[in-house]
């Protein structure tokens, strides 16, 4: 294997979209896709997909479980534009129309090992009360024309959103040749590191000021 002078490194993402926590909605499915910068290219696996429709179980009243597999490998020369997983959750409203229940995004972790991420989900919110009522009546809620917008930071100054749920994803990360190219990504994690706030994890995190 001639890898003494690699020009690119590989990132392998194995994981699953475990499930969601939406207190007020049921019968949800989720679409996911990966968003990455110009220096990145997927080499194997699927870049996007749709899960099954799931509903809350009779035992636990608020958990929705998808257990949907993610397996993708990326190749890059530069950590800028590190891939993000963008998730959009949809479900039926009172009249049976399919409406969006939340968008969310998280960076793929870059230290090798196992990680769990809890992503808050938000929907764009109409500003006028009348618009809110007509969109509820007609089933045409405000949506993003391209969900990848959620992965970018520009242009968000004028949007107003409402956060209404969480999606939990777990990752097993493997990287190849990052050290050979000089990149130091810190110690690999050996245990679960739950992130963000409530949702499914209830650990207290130490404050770092």
């Amino acid at each position: 294997m001639a890898t003494s002078n690699p020009s690119a490194f590989l990132l392998t993402v194995n994981g699953q979209i475990e499930g969601a926590n939406f207190p007020e909605y049921d019968n949800l499915y989720c679409k996911y896709c990966f968003v990455y910068g110009h220096d990145w290219a997927p080499t194997s696996g699927l870049e996007e997909g749709i899960t099954q429709i799931t509903c809350k179980g009779s035992q636990s009243s608020h958990k929705l479980i998808w257990n949907f597999p993610l397996e993708t490998t990326f190749k890059s020369t530069n950590p800028s534009g590190w891939p993000q997983l963008v998730v959009s959750v949809y479900g039926p409203d009172v009249f049976g129309n399919d409406v969006v229940r939340g968008y969310g995004a998280t960076h793929i972790p870059f230290t090798p090992g196992q990680h769990t991420r809890t992503m808050p989900m938000f929907v764009p919110e109409p500003t006028w009360r009348l618009q809110k009522f007509t969109s509820w009546l007609l089933g045409r809620r405000p949506e993003y024309t391209d969900p990848k917008v959620v992965a970018q930071g520009e242009g968000r100054e004028v949007t107003r959103v409402r956060s209404q749920g969480f999606v939990t994803v777990s990752f097993h990360i493997i990287t190849k040749d990052m050290k050979k190219l000089g990149y130091d990504t810190g110690p690999s994690s050996s245990a679960n590191t739950p992130s963000a706030t409530s949702g499914w994890s209830t650990e207290e995190q130490p404050h770092i000021m």
Binding site: H107, R162, T185
Partner: protein
């Protein structure tokens, strides 16, 4: 030249008097640092949480710096604002934190503070909102003239920052 990648997000804020918050953020560095790619300042969306009191932004940060020296290590400064239903904006807090200096994934809770006016200004503030603001945002991350300020504590902003370093160990830097 050594390189530093800051990859993460501004997750959200909690502990403020009202929800419907947004955050203006920026990264300040010294003269030896050069930004190669990414946006070093921005403004998040306005979030009105449906359940709970934490406003979630999930605003992505992806910065790539090259540096010739350790002075002026990047600092992330924040201003949390509240937007009410009429579209008026009111300052809720200033805060800053240093970008972590060890590679890996970090979760940071950044406390915020707000300047406190005289008792007349505070009385007016309870009725019509508003309040004193800093004339120059440099004071958020520098300690130069802070002794003149009287401030009150506000909520905390939660950040998740991942740090990737390149070639810093070649220059003998230990972190």
């Amino acid at each position: 030249m050594a390189e530093l990648h800051i990859i993460g997000q501004i997750v959200g804020a909690t502990g403020f008097p009202q929800n419907s918050l947004f955050c203006k953020w920026g990264v300040h560095t010294g003269g030896a640092w050069r930004l190669l790619s990414g946006l070093k300042e921005g403004q998040t969306q306005v979030d009105v949480p449906q359940t709970g009191d934490t406003a979630y932004w999930s605003h992505p940060i992806d910065l790539h710096y090259a540096t010739k020296g350790l002075q002026g290590w990047p600092k992330l400064h924040l201003q949390v604002w509240h937007q009410d239903s009429f579209g008026r904006c009111e300052l809720y807090g200033y805060g800053y934190c240093h970008v972590p200096s060890s590679p890996g994934h970090h979760r940071i809770n950044c406390g915020t503070w707000r300047p406190l006016g005289s008792w007349q200004e505070r009385l007016a503030q309870t009725f019509v909102g508003g309040g004193p603001q800093l004339r120059s945002p440099d004071l958020i991350y520098s300690g130069a003239d802070r002794y003149r300020l009287h401030t009150e504590a506000m909520g905390t902003v939660e950040l998740e920052l991942g740090i990737v370093m390149r070639h810093l160990d070649k220059y003998g830097v230990e972190s």
